[in-house]
Structure formats: structure tokens, C-alpha cells
Amino acid sequence: MQRQGLGWFEERLGWSGFREKFLDKAFPMHPSFFLGEIALFSFVILVITGIYLLFSYEPSAQIITVGGRSFPAAYHSVTQIDKQPFGLIVRQVHHWAAHLMIAVVILHLLRVFFTGAFKKPREINWVIGILLLLITVMAGFTGYLLPYDAFSVTASGIGYQIAASIPWIGVALAKFVFAGQFPAIGTIPRFFGYHVVIIPLLLIGLIGLHLLVMIKQKHTEPSSSRGRVAPGRLLGIPLWPQQTSLMVMLFLLMTGGLLLIASIFPVHPIELYGPPGPQTPTVKPDWYFLWVFGLLKLIPGWLEIHLGGTVLDPEVIGGILLPSLLILLIFLVPFLNRTRERQNYLEPVTKHPLRTSIGTGVLMLLLTLSAAAYQEVLDISLAIFRLAAVLLPLLVGIATYLAIRLFRGWRSKTIKRAREPLSSDR
């Protein structure tokens, strides 16, 4: 009976070809390979919760009066969402999932970087991946403004001023992006468009491309798989049913975990922050912007670059120039590599001491700058932080390098003593 049913579909859809081609695809196993999937599932959860929020959110900064008190319409609609059954928890899950997605995309990037998975032929996916990270961050930035409370308006206002500080085009650009001098009445409708239409479409398109390229190029494998299957074949579990059941479990686990976190740790309580007013609350940007924020603090106010009849003030240097430089370097990573062979296995982090130490050094720099954002809380002087921002990354980088050298020396000695021929995966 059942066979007949499937046969009916088989006749019409040529189902077995699809099955062979996709459902049997091998998925190499390594815990870190789940990072990309967690990013993907965070996005799915963001889309689902976002659609729920769409039903009740009002994209307008017009002032409305409710019960004798006036609020921006957007702010008021979000306080109403918080009062709906499940409204608050959905909004909290949306916010937490955004944090999770950005964090996991960064971890995914680090895993690709430290294992050399960006090497030929995967340069294209590296570039797409960085674009995904940047656009995901933009999704966070545009979404942050939407509740239009005192915090989000302050934070976006600073973003506006940084953009406006770019010479020549800054003001025009900022006015275009924010639909007028912030806070303008047109800002919310425009940001709403970015956040719920343009950015998600871009993400969907790029994630699709990212996955297509990965399927075409095949996934990298842990080096333990080396020599265990014929060349050009992957060692892994098939998509159906093993990998699928893992993915379903992961998705359910994430949904449950996010619900739990969202119900225990409230995030962005807009009723507490209140609607925007003349006063500025003490704001810190979201954690993934902290390093730029810290950098802005550390750059001395007198630092200016005079260039071609214009002035680059500290805000452009710290808020635009240096971050863009870092992003550009990250884009270039796979193209700095000159190996010609195709990279099919994960590299151990000890294989390229220089790459690994540059990676840890840059991480240390970003951490130090982020800590500098809390300079006044930590009660450490700016001068010390300036010194630390230079020294700590260097120290960590050098220490990593030496540690790897030491480890390699120690390992080759033990291997020699064991009188075993060097295994081919070294």
C-alpha cells in the first residue's frame, strides 16, 4: 500500500534522484560544525518571532496621547505588545535570538579562521560570510531603534552623529539613511523598512548562496577522516535521517533555551527606560559595538588628520576609518594565502603559528577596547587603557606564537621517542 503510494509520487516527481542527490548527502561531524547551523536556526527563530511582532508594531514616531500622557506611537505599541498574552516573551526571545545570532556568527567566523577553512576553494564563502556578519549587525542596529524608547533613541542618535562626521558626504549620507536629521519623523518608517524587508531579504539570499556554495564545494573534514574514504568522498552521516534528527533536536533545544533565558533574564525593558525625553540616559551600545565605543573613548580629542582640504576628526577615525580598515583586512584574509592546493581538511591551530597568533592578538585587541568602554566603571585611567590596547594584543600574540612553537617542539620529540614514522596528517 505504502510502496504504491510512494511509487505514485516516484512516477511523477522522480523522487529517488533527489533522494540520492540530497537526502544522502554526507555531513562530516565535528562539534564546531554546528555553529553555522545555530546561526541559521537563530535566524529562523528571529523570522518567526519577528512576524509575530509585526502584527502589532506601529512604525511611527508621531506623538500620540493616551490617558493624558503622550508617547511616540511606536513606543506605545511596543508597551501594548508587552501586555498581550505571550507578547513580552516573544519580544524577549526576538532580542535574545539577535544576540545569539551575532555571537554565533562571530564564533563561526573564528572557527573558519583558526582551522584554515577559508583557504582555496572557499574564498567566496568567506567573503559571503563576512557580508552576512555585517548585515546581521545592521539588522541588530536597525532593530534596536524600533521600540523608540529613551535608550534606543540615544544610541541611534550617536550612530547618526558618527555617520554625519564623515567628511564631504557624511551629512547627506546620514540624512539619507536616517530620513532626515535624527530624530526625524521619517526615521522610524525607513528603519522599519530596512529591518523587516530589506535586511531579511538580503540575509535569506546570502545564506542561500552561502549554503549552495558549501554544498557545491563540499564541507571540510576533521583530519581524523583522512584516508578513511576514497578521495573526493566525504566521511559523515547522511542528511536523512541522522543529520536531520540532530538538526531538529538542535532547533528544539535552542527554542527551549531561548525561552528559558528570555523568561529569566529580561532584556531591553522599555517600560523601565521610558519614552525618549530631553535627558540622556547613561547608555552603552550592544556588546558587539563596544569595541568601537571603547576606541572612540581612547582616541584623544586632539587627534585630527588634515587631508585634501578636509579634517578627519576623532569620530571619523575611531568610528569609521579604523573599523573599516579592520573589516577590509578580514575580507582579505583568504587572499593573503598563497597555497595552491585545495584545502579539504581542518588544520590544527598549531599548524600555522603566525595565523593563530595574529588571530588571538586581534581578539585581545577587541576585548581590550570593549573593556575600555567600561573604563569609568572599572576606574582605570584612559592612559593605562591606551597602553594596554597596544601592549596586551602584542603580548598575547607573542605568547601564542611561543606556546605553539614550544608545543610543536615537545610533540616532535615525543613522537621521535616513540619511534613512529610521522603520520601523514602532520
Binding site: 551629512v171 532626515g180 536629521q181 526625524a184 519623523i185
Partner: protein
């Protein structure tokens, strides 16, 4: 034979002309579409917002910007000594006009403060930080390790000295806060005696 020679040449020429015509058609078409698109892009320009840009003028009465007295005119008895409030010029409550009004002792002020703009020891500065435009606040009491009194900005810990023309004493702000000429009117209310003595808030890029 001659005929056969000419024919291909003829068609060739006609082809050229057709191609030229096509080029023109495509060119003009593309140009006019782009020109039409430009007008569409024009609409992407921000809608002009109404109240912005109403500058402070001489005679503007200062009123409380927040709190339960919001909108009520300020007089020298409104603020206790060594305290500050945020104020707007009456009827012009836009962020760029936000003023921090501080009650200090007259004799303590030094230049570059405009010493003739200090009725009863009141000083008025723009409350918009010249760094990235947050609203500044006033240190209500002395604290160890920081100058007193000071105007501070919560965003990046900029600090200004209210007794010395709001000069920058710490942090990233590039310029002092502009000062507002202040007088008392016949009713004893604090009023502006002209616009700020400099541009408000951050300057656009490139200056």
C-alpha cells in the same frame, strides 16, 4: 557579378544604419529612464520636518524642560544654589534648543565665561554635548577624583567646566558648550538675550 558584389555591401550599410538607430533608441531610452529615476530618488530624500530650526531669540522666556513644572517659566528662585535644571525657550522645545541652567556663585566665574551674561549667578549653556550630541548633566556634589563643579556627558564621559565658559576639562568633546546670553525681564523671569554664542552640538564632518 558586380551586382552580387554590391549587394552584401548594401545590406552591410543598412545593417550599420539599423544598428546606429538601435543605439540611439537604447541610449535615449536609458537616459530618459535614468532621468525619471532621478526624480524618484528625489522622493527618497527625507521629508522636511516641521518645527526644527526655530532658533532662540532675544526675549525668549526659559521654561522647565521636564518634571512636574514642565513648561513653567524659570525665575531666580526656581533653582537652589549649586543645582541645575534643563530648560527650553518657551514654545521652541526642540532638542537643539535644550539649555542647562546652573545656579552658581557669581564671583567664582572666570573668563572665557561671558561675565555679563550671569544674572544672579545663573549661567546658561547649550545642553547638547559637542562630541556626539547627548544631553549633558551637572555634578550635584563633589566627588573624589573629578573636578568640581563640572558639567558631564553620560555618553563618553566628556567633562566641561561651567565656571570657565564650559571649557572641556576631560573626555572627547572637541569644543566648549556654547553659552546663552541671559537676563532677567521685568517680571523677574530668566530670558534669553540672543542666540547661543556658537554652533550647537557636533559639527558636520570635515568642518
Amino acid at each position: 557579378m558586380a551586382e552580387e558584389h554590391e549587394r552584401p555591401e548594401h545590406t552591410h550599410q543598412a545593417g550599420m544604419r539599423r544598428r546606429t538607430l538601435l543605439r540611439w533608441v537604447v541610449g535615449v531610452g536609458a537616459f530618459s529612464s535614468l532621468a525619471a529615476l532621478a526624480s524618484v530618488l528625489g522622493t527618497v530624500k527625507p521629508p522636511q520636518t516641521a518645527q526644527r530650526g526655530e532658533k532662540i531669540k532675544a526675549g525668549d522666556v526659559l521654561v522647565f524642560a521636564l518634571g512636574q513644572n514642565k513648561g513653567a517659566p524659570l525665575t531666580p528662585t526656581s533653582i537652589v544654589p549649586q543645582q541645575a535644571v534643563l530648560a527650553f525657550p518657551q514654545g521652541k522645545a526642540v532638542q537643539d534648543n535644550l539649555i542647562i541652567l546652573i545656579n552658581l556663585r557669581r564671583s567664582q566665574f572666570i573668563p572665557p565665561t561671558h561675565l555679563n551674561w550671569l544674572p544672579d549667578g545663573y549661567v546658561a549653556y547649550s545642553a547638547i554635548c559637542t562630541h556626539l550630541g547627548c544631553t549633558v548633566g551637572f555634578s550635584h556634589e563633589p566627588m573624589p577624583g573629578v573636578p568640581y563643579p563640572h558639567i558631564h556627558c553620560p555618553c563618553h564621559q566628556g567633562m566641561y567646566n561651567p565656571l570657565a565658559g564650559a571649557e572641556v576639562v576631560a573626555g572627547p568633546p572637541p569644543r566648549p558648550l556654547p553659552q546663552l546670553p541671559l537676563v532677567l525681564n521685568a517680571k523677574g523671569e530668566l530670558v534669553a538675550d540672543g542666540p547661543f554664542d556658537g554652533p550647537v552640538g557636533p559639527l558636520p564632518g570635515g568642518r
